[in-house]
Symmetry: C2
Subunit: 515 residues, 2 copies
């Protein structure tokens, strides 16, 4: 067999079941090997941002690392933005990037590029395979790296001749190394701080969506009287009826300053220090009071589970009551003129139990969030890296990971345009995804930010850069072009009917909300 065959066998033997692909010529032997193994599900995306975003969503909803198949340097470049979001989400992703045969790299072939450089700009782990018999062990190590430290970006660069030359045997990825843990002394110190009045425990990772770990965090903070918080951008969190109550951080630094005001200490468990999305003139970068004690107990890449249990051992666990969970509170179906807030109420009212909501509504999400908390219990996936173009690809991966669950994407019209090609993959794979596009005809978030910068009277150049008008986009046609059924709505009656219909059927739908 050749190197490519050992690669595919290694991936399969190590538990990889899905390959999101946008292949090019240099990957032809890998493609041929994949073709010999129909047990690997190959999912074509028509743009590499769809590949990486899907791998991210797949990991978030399955906990499993998918492989990506990317074409050397520029193809990887196209995947970069959603690898960025995946990295910030701590999603494990295994990129297989083809490259020229190594002996060909001395010449200036058109597609020769800096594969290592661009990989290292985003990957935790990068390696160029240097011999055909190294393909299998390198792939095994790459997969191990992708699974390590709560999820990493690992990129194996595969020169074409490593794929086509003879190799001997597949390998199996070893389990990732044990996660680092804080010391007993650090746990004790954090526990002491959490017992003081006004303390906050901020948690991220699995505790936000696995009932057991989330309840543990709640029991601990209830026992010691601390507040339990979560970051604003989380890879996945449980929301709606039945969810453990976490206080969620906000987007704006001012709102977070208010939320953290007077905190005696801020203990971080599985999350980085909160910081402003951007810095602004005259505003601080970090939201906590200067005299709040910051305790970085457990990093994002450490053993969050063990740390919460260790805290419980010191602080004890209180019994939870109904007040610790979000109570059912479905909004009524709103009628009349359309507003984003009302759309949120309608979505909450109509969305089934256990849906997956991919949130890239950007400026719209601010108005949707209050209602979404009143919906039936669901998982919410947010744009962890802030790089727009995340929503549609992430929904592809989420729907593939959990075909039994309804996926709803809240999408901006500006953000959706970066990776609209994912609509086609939804159609191709028959994914049960309902996309709601909030068509405010521009980059509303930039309009808001401009005001924050103090510009009052925007002129022609700002209008030309912030407003997506002349012409407006026609999302119904865009969806149809990709093979996805779509409808445009302009009032609540229209939205309610379209969304109810989408919830009642399987398969991809798009609703363009003119707002």
């Amino acid at each position: 067999m050749n190197g490519a065959e050992t690669l595919v066998q290694t991936l399969l033997a190590s538990g990889v079941r899905v390959c999101f692909a946008n292949p090019g010529t240099s990957e032809m032997h890998f493609v041929a090997a994949l073709d010999r193994h129909p047990e690997m599900r190959c999912v074509l995306c028509l743009f590499e941002g769809g590949v990486s975003g899907a791998a991210d969503g797949y990991y978030r909803m399955s906990g499993q690392v998918a492989a990506t198949l990317l074409h050397l340097a520029p193809g990887f470049g196209n995947a970069f933005a959603n690898l960025h979001n995946a990295r910030k989400a701590q999603s494990g992703v295994l990129n297989i990037m083809g490259d020229h045969a190594d002996y060909h790299l001395r010449y200036e072939a058109p597609l020769k590029g800096d594969t290592v450089g661009i990989s290292q700009a985003i990957s935790h782990w990068t390696r160029v395979t240097s011999a055909p018999e190294r393909v299998a062990p390198d792939a095994a190590e790459a997969l191990q790296a992708a699974r390590a430290k709560n999820g990493q970006i690992a990129t194996l660069i595969l020169p074409a001749n490593m794929a086509w030359e003879e190799a001997e045997a597949a390998a199996i990825a070893p389990p990732p190394p044990a996660l680092h843990r804080p010391s007993v002394e650090q746990v004790s110190a954090a526990a002491r701080a959490l017992r003081e009045p006004g303390a906050i425990l901020m948690v991220d990772g699995k505790a936000l969506w696995t009932p057991k770990l989330g309840q543990l965090a709640k029991r601990v903070t209830k026992a010691c009287g601390a507040r339990l918080m979560m970051p604003f951008f989380a890879a996945r969190f449980r929301r709606g009826a039945g969810a453990v109550k976490f206080e969620r951080m906000a987007y704006r630094i001012e709102d977070n300053q208010a939320l953290l005001k007077g905190a005696s200490s801020l203990v971080l468990c599985g999350t980085a220090r909160p910081a402003g999305f951007f810095a602004y003139p005259g505003k601080p970068s970090t939201p906590e009071d200067p005299d709040t004690r910051l305790i970085e107990l457990c990093g994002r890449d450490m053993d969050i589970d063990w740390t919460l249990r260790a805290l419980a051992d010191v602080l004890g666990e209180a019994e939870l009551g109904p007040e610790d969970f979000v109570a059912p509170d479905l909004p009524a179906l709103p009628e009349g003129a359309l507003t984003v807030t009302k759309v949120g109420e309608a979505v909450a009212a109509l969305m089934p139990e256990d849906a997956v909501v991919v949130d890239e509504g950007v400026s719209a999400s601010y108005f949707l969030a209050p209602s979404m908390r009143r919906a039936r219990g669901h998982d919410a996936l947010t744009i962890t890296g802030g790089s727009i173009g995340f929503g549609l690809p992430c929904a592809v991966g989420a729907a593939l990971a959990r075909p039994e669950r309804k996926v709803v994407v809240m999408e901006g019209d500006g953000s959706g345009m970066y990776t609209l090609q994912s609509l086609w993959t939804m159609a191709r794979e028959g994914l049960d995804v309902t996309t709601v596009v909030f068509a405010n005809r521009g980059y509303q978030i930039l309009r808001d930010e401009l005001a924050a910068v103090g510009v009052q009277d925007a002129g022609r150049n700002i209008a030309r850069m912030f407003d997506v008008v002349e012409p407006t986009l026609d999302w119904v046609s865009l969806a149809k072009g990709h093979g996805v059924q779509a409808v445009q709505v302009r009032d609540m009656a229209g939205f309610n009917a379209a969304f109810a219909e989408a919830m009642g059927q399987r398969g991809p739908r798009l609703i363009e909300v003119v707002c």
Copy 2:
């Protein structure tokens, strides 16, 4: 004034007139400064690959460096693929990449990324501005770098606080340093080789499209009896009636081996050593015979103009006759069943004098090329870096650079999907671009390459990765969604009518050719 204002003033004072933009929050002060200067034309692209591809096309057709406005690391990532094509085209591009305020980078903000790393993976020149008073001189140096060495990728990373803090004065970009030249001895040696029977002079750069330089190359080779050749992938070359005759290299290594067979020497002037697009098992990386003498006389980044004149001084110049130029030979309008070859004949028959043809037809281009040589004189722009998704953005830039000329894009349906958002910019700016999409429902080039690798019976995974069917794309709806008028044709009568109509009117059109 602030740093952003000095930046815009520096660009304007130094001759930059267009800014292709996809801004984000970190660029807000730059945006505000652009708004105060309506004399800078800001062109919004809804995806960053549209930005970089447009800057490439703009340079190819104007010789002028445009600025791009890109959002920190992931936004630059989206621009990467077409920066790759631009780099291989030697297009000068000045990227302004925003970043967080420098003091904010110590925190893990969602959008924090490796701006320097990703820039260095593609740019010839990268700098992070470290003080507000450095914005103007850094921008001037960046622009100088973009104009140096026959065109480079220069990236200035602008932390937000450098843009918003006070600065003093604008600057003006100094002229680029003089281009390197070969020594007189090197010219003499090359001239001696060119006098021998079977010698080839291979030229790239401006000689391929400026009549004066192209004719000089022809007169020199005619005087010494050498063949005059050009690379297959050229940033821009003159084609059709009246063009100086160059022998063009081919795509496949076998064809290039045949073309170069028996050459005594291969003298390179403004072009890199020819190499296969990819390496293949058992085939060579380079096409020339082992005993052909390779003479790298003048690199791509050196003084091609001077070198050709120096050769002329040694070798003399022959008078040119009609046989040295492509004779008018318009094909007849073909009828009946549609084939790609016939579409090429119809395009050649109907296209006006002095059009600009952006060629990303990929597998279709092979069948189009013979007819395109028979068209009225036009400029052809090819996908120099081989990274698909180049055509539509490049056409945007070309049309902006030369609004008086008709731009025709030959586009694959696979390749067009990477950057289809550029259709919207064509509509927004009213660009005179006719896009012909060859809808063969898949990645035909990969089907061809698979056969080259020896795979006969493709199975399900290959079909799922190479065929864009189930569903097929509907390019008429995709175009309509972006605001571009479109029609689908299935026979030559339909194509002839649609293309003739597009040639007779101004503004963006799309023709989906089902083939």
